[in-house]
């Protein structure tokens, strides 16, 4: 029987998109389905650290070695997604000297360039480090933008013929005896490219091979075919500050612990994180103590964090896994390595493999290993090219630097746009039409918003992750409406309105965890702007029976009627109506 596609990838996170790109570049026909939007899972809710491997240099040297290799590759192939910040492992007086030494040796064993800085030297690099910081190890940690990285993989997969279907939730695995031959998906009316499936309909997609890359949800997918995968989802909080207090990744140099990393990310710094096992990756408590702990503990390293303004917090769940029988108690101790579960070997059911665990930093290596496995299953001999082929946007950064001035944007805007768009900047920004800034906080221009809309349709959250519009200090209070306007007239007014509502609600979700001080004042300002100035909270257009009795309200003062101002004479009576 002819199948719809050769390989069907489930899950649109970094793992799934990385696999789709790898296989497509090897010439296979690929379809990827994702229940929400790209990056809706853990990929869009992670800390943004491109590990040097330093973190694992003592506890897990295999991971550490893989990290440094991939770190170097991603700087090459995904330059526009990586900011080379460098990183420090910082030792406070109460942190053990032994561990500091082990860390340094571990880095050297794993090939991670590492250099010791005195406390004073470390403070020269990062002036806001605490006065009593003893010393630090400098490593090549970097900041990575998971949204751009994941989208770039998806775009390149599409360029190689892949069908990427978002808002398509897998509701069943098609199983015939001991063979999996596809899935059934339900198309949703949710936001995003509403181009493919029709909302509310279901579709069976058959394939020669199915790859389950649904991360923390992999167990739920496997269960659809009566297979068991004991994923142990573990949540972590990340708290975003309003400015970049540090320009280098700051790690605490001690064995393990919560709240031990600060990552500079675009205009912000992100504090993280915690590690707490949860039972349901879609429903877990987001707790106040976690946010407090980020601020309280990390201000031991960077004291100004105590008083600084946070703009929002968000949580993600790690797709941790360990083979049956390992029985690790503390989730922090579960390996960060990934597992490729071939259900033919494991459960005697062919046609399906699942991937769980891993890190974003090593997504490409994971994808390579899995793609090798799939090719072997399908008898394909093509080899992997992803370590050498730059992702879209990453080619030719130098040529781009040279030509940037022409775009007529103010330099911080141009610089940021360029960073976001990489080598596509010229294509997107070179426009004769006026190109005003839509999002002031992040310096995002109209052309970029429109470019993102062309990609992601009426889903403004997808536009947001592509451009960073609405992700700065005001958290969209000032620009959500303007972003939505750019959908018109391509999309009708009702669609624009609901896309805007969706974005505003999403922005509010994260802000709730930062509601004190400046950010509470900002929230009130945003609320006033939306509810008071615009009456968006009580919009008659949104009401079921839009039967407002306009007649009953003030219609202006007709010029013909006697006036109450003591008969001051009007100007031109015919146009005088109400104009007083």
């Amino acid at each position: 029987m002819a199948t719809d596609t050769e390989v069907l990838v489930l899950g649109g996170g970094s793992t799934g998109c990385g696999i789709a790109r790898d296989l497509a570049m090897r010439g296979l026909e690929v379809t990827l389905v994702e229940r929400g939007n790209l990056t809706d899972g853990t990929t869009g809710r992670m800390h943004g650290l491109l590990h040097s491997g330093g973190r694992y240099a003592v506890s897990d040297q295999a991971s550490a070695t893989e990290c440094i290799e991939e770190n170097e590759i991603l700087r090459e192939i995904a330059g526009h997604c990586v900011e080379e910040t460098g990183g420090l492992f910082v030792q406070r007086p109460e942190d053990a000297d032994d561990y500091f030494r082990e860390k340094l040796e571990g880095c050297r064993d794993c090939g991670i360039p590492a250099r010791v800085l005195s406390g004073r030297e470390a403070r020269e690099v990062e002036p806001y480090l605490a006065d009593d910081v003893k010393r630090a190890i400098e490593v090549p940690d970097a900041a990575v933008d998971p949204f751009r990285l994941c989208v770039a993989n998806a775009v390149d997969a599409e360029n190689h013929g892949t069908r990427i279907e978002t808002h398509a939730e897998v509701i069943d695995l098609l199983r015939d005896g001991d063979d999996i031959y596809g899935v059934e998906v339900r198309h949703d009316s949710g936001p995003g490219k509403r181009a493919h499936g029709v909302a509310g309909t279901t579709e069976e997609i058959t394939a020669d091979y199915v790859v389950n890359a649904t991360g923390a949800w992999a167990g739920q997918i496997a269960a659809l075919a009566d297979l068991e995968i004991a994923v142990r989802p573990s949540k972590g909080v990340m708290t975003i500050m309003n400015v970049r207090q540090v320009d280098t990744v700051i790690n605490r140099c001690r064995p393990k612990g919560d709240a031990d990393i600060v990552v500079p990310h675009e205009t912000t710094a992100i504090l993280g994180t915690t590690d707490e096992e949860v039972s349901d990756p879609d429903d877990y408590p987001e707790e106040e103590w976690e946010v407090d702990e980020m601020i309280d503990t990390l201000s031991e390293l960077v004291p100004i964090l105590e008083e600084a303004r946070t703009i929002r917090s968000f949580w993600g769940v790690r797709p941790l896994y360990e083979p049956p029988g390992t029985g690790t108690q503390d989730p922090t101790d579960i390996t960060r390595d990934f597992f490729l579960l071939d259900h033919a070997e494991r459960d005697g059911v062919s046609g399906l493999s699942s991937i769980v665990g891993g890190k974003l930093t090593t997504y490409r290596a994971m994808a390579e290993e899995i793609s090798d496995h799939v090719c072997e299953k399908l008898g394909v001999t093509a080899s992997c090219a992803t370590a050498d082929e730059p992702l879209p946007g990453s080619e030719n950064i130098e040529a781009l630097e040279a030509g940037m001035d022409d775009f007529g944007l103010r330099s911080p805007v141009a610089r940021r746009s360029k960073q976001r768009l990489g080598s596509r900047a010229r294509e997107v920004l070179e426009t004769d039409a006026p190109n005003p800034v839509v999002c002031q906080c992040e310096g995002v221009t109209r052309a970029e918003i429109r470019d993102a809309i062309a990609d992601s349709g009426s889903d403004l959250n997808a536009v947001r992750i592509r451009t960073r519009a609405s992700m700065g200090n005001c958290q969209g209070g000032f620009c959500c409406g303007t972003m939505a306007s750019e959908l018109h007239p391509e999309y009708d007014e009702a669609t624009v309105r609901s896309a805007l509502d969706e974005l505003v609600q999403e922005r509010w979700k994260g802000q709730r965890h930062a509601l004190w001080g400046e950010q509470l004042s900002q929230a009130m300002l945003n609320y006033a702007l939306h509810a008071t100035t615009m009456n968006r909270d009580r919009d008659p257009a949104g009401e079921e029976d839009a039967s407002l009795e306009y007649d009953a309200f003030d219609g202006g003062r007709p010029a013909a009627e006697p006036r109450t101002d003591g008969g001051k004479h009007g100007r031109n009576a015919s146009r005088d109506r109400g104009d007083h």
Binding site: T445, N535, R538, A546, D551, D554, R557
Partner: protein, 443 residues
């Protein structure tokens, strides 16, 4: 007090009524104090720009009840049944009417809406309509209950107002007229990121601009640009950038040239109608002989003059690091809410920073909000609880100080954003607090 010859910083500045905060509430308090007592020396001390520059310039009284019913045709009807503790309930509905009449007198022709008790529905830059009680003259021809067809004009370089979308939105809101929108270039604007004040000044000064039609004044160039798009509409709406100093002149000239009525759609910050209102109020303060000290914050206070810690002796103003005492008989606190920074918060508390007046709130900050962004938000009601004299009370309902009153957004117990009552509460409570303060001045 220690006196050192030559150290002027320790000389207290003396007044009868001292108003702290120069937003709408503070300006109204100072004006009503000066009005109520000709002999009283009234001073207003204010720090940063007030929220008037962010607000739309509309004067909302009450658009919806606290329970969410509305839009209310008659805001005054509903005033009678507000919950205890609401600022309007504190001052009483009669005082709200008096305050509004006082405002109308000050605003004169600059504001309209006083000819009826009914609320007006004003088109907003987001495209919906909202109920308000007084609106700037520049908005008058735009009311949604007026059934004349309207052309909305937006500008390519001003993304905050998308005229075609706003027109479609108005129709979705069921307005009784046809609305159409067009987007045009603004003659003379060359930068994509020009400030709204740049648009206004181009028109104020009628600067010479070059368009396809050659060199003309900016007003004529704008009218020419719009004329090509005009069909049979008898009114044309623009985003609120039509002049600052000479807004009336700009509007009149556009109207004459286009032979239609011209109106402005209120916009978000920075808001020209808000700036115009601020200019109007500060002009009135000057006329009324109120002394205005601006750009400096009040940072502290001292009690104990009459041997009582319930009586404020003086407040301390920080002038570039020098602390200057300001003494008065009566004080009005009008420092704004969370936005104006008259109410502040930390991770575990909400407080009023100058006098540390009691701000009712739950200690757990996760009880300060609800999950629906437009739900019944507790934080929106944060502020001081006043008695009927508008004196802030402590946790046991006793006045914090005998000679301190509070007005405007620094008061709590109401959600002005949901109710559409922001400017109205500032006017009513500012008026009452200033009047009472002046009446009891001990002189």
């Amino acid at each position: 007090m220690r006196v050192e010859i030559g150290v002027t910083t320790e000389m207290a500045i003396e007044d009868d009524v001292l108003v702290v905060g120069g937003g709408l509430a503070g300006a109204m308090a100072a004006l009503s104090a000066a009005d109520a007592n000709d002999d009283a020396r009234v001073r207003l001390v204010t720090y940063k720009q007030s929220t008037l520059r962010q607000a739309s310039g509309l004067i909302d009284i009450l658009g919806y009840t606290p329970a969410g019913e509305g839009p209310l045709v008659d805001p005054f009807d509903a005033l009678e049944s507000l919950p205890t503790g609401h600022p309007y309930e504190r001052v009483g509905s009669e005082a709200v009417r008096d305050a509004l009449a006082f405002f109308d007198e000050i605003a004169g022709d600059a504001y309209a809406g006083g000819h009826t008790n009914a609320n007006a529905l004003v088109p907003t830059h987001g495209g919906t309509v909202k109920p308000t009680a007084r609106y700037p003259a520049s908005t008058a021809a735009g009311l949604a209950s007026d059934d004349r067809d309207a052309l909305l004009v937006g500008f390519e370089t001003l993304p905050d107002f998308d005229a075609p979308l706003a027109a479609a939105h108005l129709e979705a809101a069921g307005v009784p007229f046809d609305a159409r929108g067009v987007t045009v270039p603004f003659p003379g604007i060359v930068r994509d990121d020009a400030k709204v004040t740049r648009y206004a000044h181009l028109l104020d000064r009628d600067e010479t601009v070059t368009t396809g039609a050659g060199e003309t004044g900016a007003r004529e160039a704008l009218a020419t640009t719009v004329r090509d798009h005009l069909e049979d509409e008898s009114r044309v709406g623009f985003p609120a950038v039509l002049g600052d100093d000479d807004a009336d002149g700009v509007r009149a000239e556009l109207a004459d040239t286009l032979e239609v009525d011209v109106f402005e759609v209120p916009m978000g910050p920075p808001s020209l109608p808000g700036i115009r209102l601020e200019e109007l109020l500060y002009g009135a303060l000057e006329d009324a002989g109120v002394r205005v000290t601006s750009g400096v914050p009040v940072v502290d206070y001292e009690t104990g003059a009459n041997g009582s810690d319930e009586h404020i002796d003086h407040v301390v103003v920080d002038r570039n690091g020098t602390e200057i005492p300001h003494r008065a008989d009566q004080y009005v606190l009008a420092t704004g809410g969370l936005v104006g920074k008259g109410v502040r918060s930390e991770r575990d508390r909400v407080f009023e920073p100058i006098f540390d007046c009691h701000v009712p709130h739950t200690p757990d900050r996760y009880d300060w909000f609800v999950d629906d962004v437009f739900g019944d938000q507790p934080y929106a009601r944060f502020g001081l609880a006043p008695d009927r004299e508008l004196r802030p009370v402590d946790a046991t309902d006793e006045p914090e100080f005998v000679n301190l009153r509070a007005a405007g957004a620094v008061l709590g117990g109401y959600d002005y954003a949901a109710e559409k009552s922001g400017a109205g509460v500032s006017i009513a409570t500012g008026y009452v607090a200033g009047k009472r303060a002046a009446e009891v001045v001990d002189r």
